[in-house]
Symmetry: C2
């Protein structure tokens, strides 16, 4: 971490910065955003803040001061050339117990982190994760702090493994076997010249880059759909790609015994995203 | 909160005690226990620590120092006559990202809180919650820190409502409509003179008092089963009761238009629990 503000102030000591009673710690009662800072601006900032605003409404958290939040973001980025900006907000509250004593936004953490190391390949190798995502329409789409499923999914494989192919990302199914996403990316398939991505009505995060890709595909005249997808849809796709705001668009090269070339639709969307 | 230890030390200021990078805060990557302290001892302490140990194994968190944890519990209770002891432990880790950089137990919080106000009735009025619990067998049964479903469930009603009957607890179904638990209690039904409780194979917390009730029922010669239950099983039950370690065993008096007397099996189990 290279810069940190908590409720607008740099903490005296980041190791002693948050109340042990914080509802984010005790229940995951809050939200986060992860954003790319590059070239002097936070990319897709308005889309991130729109998702955060909608997520607050979903959880019933009120009073997030967006003006101050934008100031915090500006301040943590000051002087840096690039990085990942993370926002965490949690519901205010005192005492023990699931029932909130307040619905106000309590803690607002804004931090700047180094970019992850550049990838050695432009494509990714995928795996199927064993853990399944629980279905909960109330929590679907938003970036809340209950992320144990993603943590356990990433613990399933070692990305530094020397034996065999390096795995970059894991695809996740829900409890009914529907394809939802990857552990930190959304997933798209190409079939019959059109792109399709899971509709996320029951789980998964509605990624900002996912929205951008759907918008750009529309501009490029490529048909899109948000729909229920299953493992066989991935295995029979002509192209597969994953997206997030930090890594952009990356074509899948391998998944088990399946191999894909990086096809023309993935290439045209990746090119359009990188030009933005 | 009346006493607090973080990694065995009283914090200088509980409002500034935890790292903003704590994985418990960022991902809910940790566990908790809530225990009753009364009459000079923590009730069912061994059962709580057994569940915590098993839950650590499930999440792959290692190195919890149980000797120190027991010392912390002893210290926070020192001088108090009664209260609720809460333990929170989180996975160690630095930096951003779901993937753990360590599987060691990082933060160990032990606190003593006042008991909740004594109930004015010995029975409880129940409601059906609208939110459904997502199914995830990997997380089922353990008391992990991803508790947004319980938070949102409790936000569904106002226990202080003056219009009509006060509601004490809400029953929760999972995404398939199976009965699982109440927001902070386990649930039991009586039918044909035997007791049944949800088997929690897909979600819910395997409460310490739930285990005690199953054990006591066996001693009393009452048949028990852990099985799939549905709303109609509650509505056709001759008795319904809920359990947790703080409140013990409480018979349900009302749920929608259903009314139950506190029946003989609920009474005998509640009496046996309160004698312990």
């Amino acid at each position: 971490m290279t810069a940190l503000l908590i409720n607008g102030e740099p903490p005296t000591d980041p190791s002693f910065a948050i109340a042990s009673s914080d509802r984010g710690l005790n229940y995951g009662d809050g939200l986060f955003e992860t954003m790319l800072y590059r070239g002097g601006s936070v990319r897709y900032l308005d889309a991130h803040l729109r998702r955060l605003r909608e997520a607050c409404q979903r959880l019933g958290i009120v009073g997030l001061d967006e003006t101050r939040l934008r100031e915090d973001i500006h301040r943590v980025c000051g002087g840096a050339s690039e990085g990942v900006v993370k926002i965490v907000i949690t519901r205010e509250g005192v005492g023990r117990g699931y029932r909130p004593t307040s619905d106000l936004c309590g803690t607002r953490i804004v931090s700047l982190h180094s970019l992850p190391p550049a990838a050695r390949r432009t494509t990714v190798n995928l795996r199927w994760c064993e853990i399944r995502l629980g279905r909960n329409a109330v929590l679907a789409g938003i970036k809340h702090l209950n992320r144990l499923e993603q943590v356990l999914a990433q613990r399933e494989w070692n990305p530094a493994a020397k034996d065999g192919e390096t795995i970059d990302e894991g695809l996740l199914l829900d409890s009914e076997g529907e394809l939802i996403c990857a552990t930190m990316s959304n997933v798209f398939i190409v079939r019959d010249g059109a792109i399709a991505t899971p509709d996320l009505r029951f789980c998964g995060v509605r990624g900002v880059m996912r929205g951008e890709v759907l918008r750009i595909a529309g501009e490029l005249g490529i048909a899109t759909s948000e729909t229920a997808l299953w493992p066989r849809d991935v295995e029979t796709a002509t192209e597969v790609f994953i997206t997030n705001v930090v890594r952009g668009v990356r074509g899948a090269a391998a998944l088990g015994s399946h191999r894909w070339p990086v096809g023309p639709i993935t290439q045209s969307i990746a090119a359009a995203v990188s030009k933005q």
